[in-house]
Amino acid sequence: MSAEGQHLTRLAAADIAAAIARGDVSAVEVAQAHLDRIAEVDQRVHAFLHVDAEGALEAAAAIDAKRRAGEPLGPLAGVPLALKDVMAMRGIPTTAGSKVLEGWRPPYDSTVVARLRAADVVILGKTNMDEFAMGSSTEHSAYGPTHNPWDLDRIPGGSGGGSAAALASFEAPLAIGTDTGGSIRQPAAVTGTVGVKPTYGGVSRYGLVALASSLDQAGPCARTVEDTALLHAAIAGYDPRDSTSINEPVPAVVEAARRGDVRGLRVGLVKELSGEGYQAGVTQRFTEAVDLLTSLGAEVVEVSCPHFDYALAAYYLILPSEASSNLARFDGMRFGVRVGDNGERGVEEVMSLTREAGFGAEVKRRIMIGTYALSSGYYDAYYGQAQKVRTLIQRDFAAAFEKVDVLVSPTAPTTAFRIGEKVDDPIAMYLNDVATIPVNLAGNCAMSLPIGLAPEDGLPVGLQIMAAAKADASLYNVGAALEAALRDRWGHLLIEEAPAL
């Protein structure tokens, strides 16, 4: 790839858009540079399941034509983006990381994709993920794992490891992820990138292949807080097709990202999200980042959210229950693969054979847990009880936000572990999500941003900022302040330290 091309892939989204708007570079050149980068490194990273070169270049050319015609371009026009393969995109393979959807090309666009197209964002392709978003390492993808660009033997996080890896390997400056229990934030943490789970209902779920309906949210991912904010503003907002969508204006996230002022802000450390189980280097970098916030004028106190200790248990009842129902439609009758239809077998058998062959082990495990938790006789004790824990967690957050403006914690207990290390131990795998899950249960919002490398392994550490429901702008304000201070300290963004691929 040319030097200019390489330079283009190192730029932030905001700078790319500005360069295109000025005419310094064309959208086609930008798209091509990123496609070249993908061709160069994705054999090793495996972030992408499908690259739509033709579509991307066509979209880029159209944007160039618009600019030549003097039409106004939005703040992200011509910027390339990697789309998690869980979002429906018309005519483009959408697999949700599963064999059961192999070859499926949706006849419709998700609302998020429609808004990206309307914002003239150039979608490069679909990224790898744990199957049906169930996982924290992308090892449960039916199409092979994605490799962390910081160390190719390690996981990039999950379920949205492909999107995070695409950012960290400079294959795209923007990505879309989805977050049900941390699937945007945890990959962001282990890849040294930024990811946000918006307030539940902030971004439309229409066209998002559902995992757990009451927990899922699509969200923006990028390498900088400002880029993440620009993407957030582009995709968020009320959608009448999504009955859980918030009918209010999008929070002023971009303005907050450009403010970055924490003087007088009250910041709470969540006592339950620390201590045993947290890697020493993670705790160390976290403490340093909190001290930095203090030096920037924030007031830091410890708060207790006692029911967070039950969050994992509640999550692992609610998610499988909803998922077992959401995944019932994958039966080989109307779309996706069909297995075992030899003209003799009945429909029940063909459905069962299709699902057995099409779903991976983790998916089957969770479907069965969910089927069990909803069964007659068990509903009240399992699913019903778990929904009560949700109320208790919401109350914990409410009480905390009486005392502080935002909460912080390490995003994940450890840095990126090795591929294969935890894949056979579901409980160990589930513990990756212990810090991120409470926010999904309560429905409020959170961000992960990079705060340094752990001394013992040189791998990225993320800090999680949590804010009240609909207070998404606070995330960007605090994140921007911290990012700026860290950049001042290091002279560059952390991601610049990622090894060259």
Partner: protein
């Protein structure tokens, strides 16, 4: 602490239309057990008077007007079908009448 039997796993698999092999039945029985022991924790904490939360952001009465909006053409609808015939989805023999 309830443990899950192989038969119960088989029953769950039938309900969920998963054609599990014999060795999978044993494998999942132990895995489900381990996880269910963990999740029985929720029983410890939520008292009877705590209301359940099914929607994180409370809202009521989200309704849409009774108007026709554009949908898919039949070609689009059938585009993903593993099998189709004369504009309809073709599915294997149904043995059970609903």
């Amino acid at each position: 602490m309830p443990t899950i039997s192989r038969d119960e796993v088989a029953h769950l698999a039938r309900l969920a239309r998963l054609d599990l092999h014999d060795d999978e039945l044993d494998h999942y029985a132990s895995q489900l057990d381990v996880i269910l022991a963990s999740v029985a924790r929720v029983a410890e904490v939520a008292a009877a008077d705590v209301p359940a939360t099914s929607h994180p952001i409370p809202m009521n009465n989200v309704l849409r007007p009774d108007v026709v909006t554009p949908g898919l053409t039949s070609a689009e609808a059938l585009s993903g079908a593993p099998a189709s015939d004369e504009g309809r989805f073709r599915v294997p023999r149904i043995l059970d009448e609903e």
